[in-house]
Symmetry: C3
Subunit: 175 residues, 3 copies
């Protein structure tokens, strides 16, 4: 298991169904801090609803929950504080939401990094590794892959810990 | 190279053409146990036939071979024994076969884990990492990715060793 | 950071936007050797032009630059020498170019490995991990994935160092 943090930034990367959310939740619960779950998911359809429900069931009632598809930097500035652990699940959905909203991606990434730099307490960010398959056919998917990859690099550069999860097992890249 | 086992469960994960089968075969041969190769592949077309033949050629004549597309838990219960090393190649094809047969996936995964728990001798399971690309367009591929990811987590949790192979080189996640 | 080399072969693998090129450039610059950048990219369209320009801007003026879409083994034989560090960016585009040119893939891979075996000075090769997503629908993409995977295994087997980059952070597989 990872070295326990009670403040700072942790990035948890992994493929689909790699166990990254469960790992991140464990990090937060073991910190002993007051847990806040921030969902970036926008529920479009039944498939998404099922996924969100499965995540919700696993978390225990001690979690406070917020939904924030777009204004993640503002939320962190407002909510992060000593004694609290915020779990953001997940950055890749945030990137998707920014693209759909035609937001200025570079500006938003800079805002997120600035917010993380200024945060008190612990912030654990979950994100999907999406760049290790074949180059996608359509430009939007390629752009998404590029944005996600750049965000991972930006966040990893300032993070105190970076973990890559495969088959539920962590590989520590930093920290 | 990995620490040598003569009993227990080993999971060997990796991308396409990562060298995972060759690594798993080496583990089995170095164990000194009697090797049994279990293919889950169902040969549909010439492309598949070519792949199966390439694998077959690399293995030496000392291997016993069985084909079992669906009833993997039963096969393990029947065939696993002290002094024997079983190589299952691969779990992702088994998942595909279960989906095509409209089997109850959760039940089958539970049966496999129960069988592995009860096994004597060595069982080495090869599987494809398929969850680190862009989210696939079609639901069946997303379901497949989810099933494969969940199975990897289940098997990794009970395995004695888990290795991730890239460019023919192992990264030990557990053991 | 990786142990510093002034001669030999280094393979730098990673997904899209993983930071692999920046990592490879750093390795070359920190070697203190005279840097030569070899681009395998063939510029087809504006999207590619933008990517190439972004890479070019990041590199400093001290770099010499060559473009070689196909005859990589010949270039290495001709240009590699003591005191020089060659950065090849990237092998996956070279594989694509070979496939489009209907070259004999196995022969070319053997030539590359022979050239690398004979090289003086440092050669750092960047390549994309493309085999960890869902099996692609079309045969050409599956063939490409197979070729790339086999090349990675071949080069990794003879390399002095192999690094896997995720979120800008290196994981050393060898060396």
């Amino acid at each position: 298991m990872a070295r326990l943090l009670t403040s700072g930034t942790v990035l948890v990367l992994g493929g689909a169904r790699s166990g990254k959310s469960a790992f991140a939740e464990k990090l937060v619960l073991e910190s002993g801090l007051q847990p806040l779950y921030v969902a970036t998911a926008q529920v479009w359809d039944d498939e998404m609803r099922t996924r969100v429900e499965a995540h919700r069931k696993r978390r225990q009632t001690q979690w406070q929950t917020m939904e924030e598809p777009l204004e993640l930097p503002k939320l962190l500035k407002r909510e992060a504080r000593q004694g609290r652990a915020i779990l953001v699940d997940c950055l890749t959905l945030w990137v998707t939401n920014l693209m759909l909203a035609e937001a200025n991606i570079s500006d938003r990434f800079a805002s997120l990094c600035a917010a993380l730099h200024g945060c008190e307490g612990l912030v654990v960010l979950v994100s999907n590794e999406v760049g290790q398959g074949i180059v996608p056919d359509n430009k939007m998917a390629r752009d998404f892959r590029d944005h996600a990859g750049r965000l991972h690099q930006d966040v990893a550069a300032l993070a105190d810990q970076v973990h890559f999860i495969a088959a539920g097992l962590p590989l520590t890249l930093k920290g």
